[in-house]
């Protein structure tokens, strides 16, 4: 697969993960208001809650592999903000895998802190691409953070992919796995 096919593939996964995350966040909000919604959330938790660490690990590993593909094979040079997001995402891929193997739910506070920081940076980077006047009035030819050097389906850029990755990890750890998988259980 070439760069475009890989980008399309990851973008499709991002669309799926994004929609699922939005649906789960919505369900979590509704669950506090409606017994029916709470029942549905419980069904989701029972079905995939025990695997939430594995799924979060998979999300982080896929994000890491995607970013390495884009830079090392696709030839897209990461900008400064891309690197900050990598600094957050790459450790998640490792520590979530270890936590999944050990079933160590105590990892949640550490993952939450790293993923939240990554999500904020990714959100700012995505905003920078849409409101480029924030830092400057031009795109550097070398490695500009505002340039949209990869965009699929009209809105999915690399920082958007990262943002969805971080949010999905948080949703998996805090909404999907909020039942029997509490720390210490």
């Amino acid at each position: 697969m070439g760069l475009l096919a890989v980008a399309n593939f990851l973008a499709l996964l991002v669309v799926g993960a994004g929609l699922a995350s939005i649906a789960l966040i919505g369900l979590r909000v509704l669950a506090s208001l409606s017994a029916t919604a709470a029942g549905w959330l419980e069904i989701v938790r029972r079905a995939i809650g025990p695997y939430a660490l594995w799924l979060a690990s998979l999300v982080a590993a896929t994000s890491m592999a995607g970013s390495l593909y884009f830079s090392e094979i696709g030839g897209l040079v990461p900008c400064a903000y891309c690197w900050y997001q990598r600094i957050a995402m790459y450790p998640l891929a490792v520590i979530l895998l270890i936590a999944a193997v050990r079933r160590d739910w105590g990892i949640r506070p550490y993952v939450t802190a790293i993923a939240a920081i990554g999500a904020v940076i990714a959100a700012y980077h995505a905003l920078l691409q849409r409101l480029p006047g924030l830092p400057s009035g031009s795109c550097s030819v070398t490695v500009p953070c505002s340039t949209i050097d990869l965009e699929r389906f009209g809105f999915i850029t690399i920082p958007v992919m990262a943002l969805v990755g971080f949010v999905t990890v948080l949703v998996l750890l805090w909404i999907v796995a909020d039942g029997d998988e509490r720390p210490g259980s």
């Binding site: 475009l4 025990p50 340039t147 990869l150 965009e151």
Partner: protein, 222 residues
């Protein structure tokens, strides 16, 4: 229902739940595999579709004359006063096009990139200004579309340029950005103002007010 049959039914339900639980990891993995497979098939199919408008195939852009010094707005621009190098390649319609210093016209060369949000913001303003204001006598506006990247936003660049109503003769840069490098371009959008005798009068980096653009065109008019 007797006590024995109740107990048997409960045992059966527990057994079913146990089976469901033991099957669950397989179902989760199978679900992931299906999602990945479907996404891969769609991704390859989408990547192999031909866009309605294709970027003209470009041979390497040919540069004649000495390239301009790299463009750093924070220091004195040493390109000012230097002769503009000529660029030859293809235009938006795929026909040969040359941006030359020796056609007897003063000119502004607008350097744009389809994936640069500043260029995306600037282009409609320029188009509107050019539609409302006649160019000074002896002055032309040309374009250089650079940093062309099939994965980037607004690709292909000619679809973006034409879609915004940009009609100025525009050279399509090659894959190694030879044209932008010859102009010492370090950022987009960029503007190179050239006098009628082919000498660089000014270079401007970044979005500019169209009124300033107009004033600078007046300044280079013969």
């Amino acid at each position: 229902m007797t006590q024995k049959s109740k107990s048997s039914a409960a045992q059966k339900r527990r057994s079913q739940r146990g089976n469901q639980a033991s099957n669950r990891p397989v179902l989760v993995v199978a679900g992931i595999v299906v999602v990945v497979a479907v996404a891969a098939v769609i991704a390859v199919a989408l990547a192999s579709t031909t866009p309605a408008v294709a970027e003209p195939a470009t041979d390497p852009v040919v540069v004649s004359g000495a390239p301009l010094a790299p463009w750093n707005p924070e220091v004195t621009d040493t390109a000012i006063g230097m002769p503009l190098p000529g660029l030859s390649g293809v235009g938006m319609d795929g026909a040969p096009l040359t941006i030359g210093p020796d056609d007897g016209l003063a000119k502004c060369i607008v350097i744009l990139s389809h994936q640069c949000p500043h260029c995306v913001a600037e282009l409609p303003r320029l188009v509107a200004w050019l539609a409302d204001n006649p160019l000074p006598d002896g002055v032309e506006v040309m374009g250089l579309s650079t940093l062309i990247n099939p994965a980037g936003s607004n690709y292909p660049s000619i679809a973006w340029l034409e879609g915004e109503g940009w009609t100025a003769p525009t050279l399509i840069d090659d894959a190694t950005y030879t044209g932008a490098a010859a102009y010492g371009s370090m950022s987009t959008p960029g503007f190179i103002f050239v006098t009628a005798d082919g000498i660089v009068a000014d270079r401007v980096v970044g979005e500019i007010d169209p009124a300033v653009f107009g004033a600078m065109l007046e300044a280079i008019a013969p």
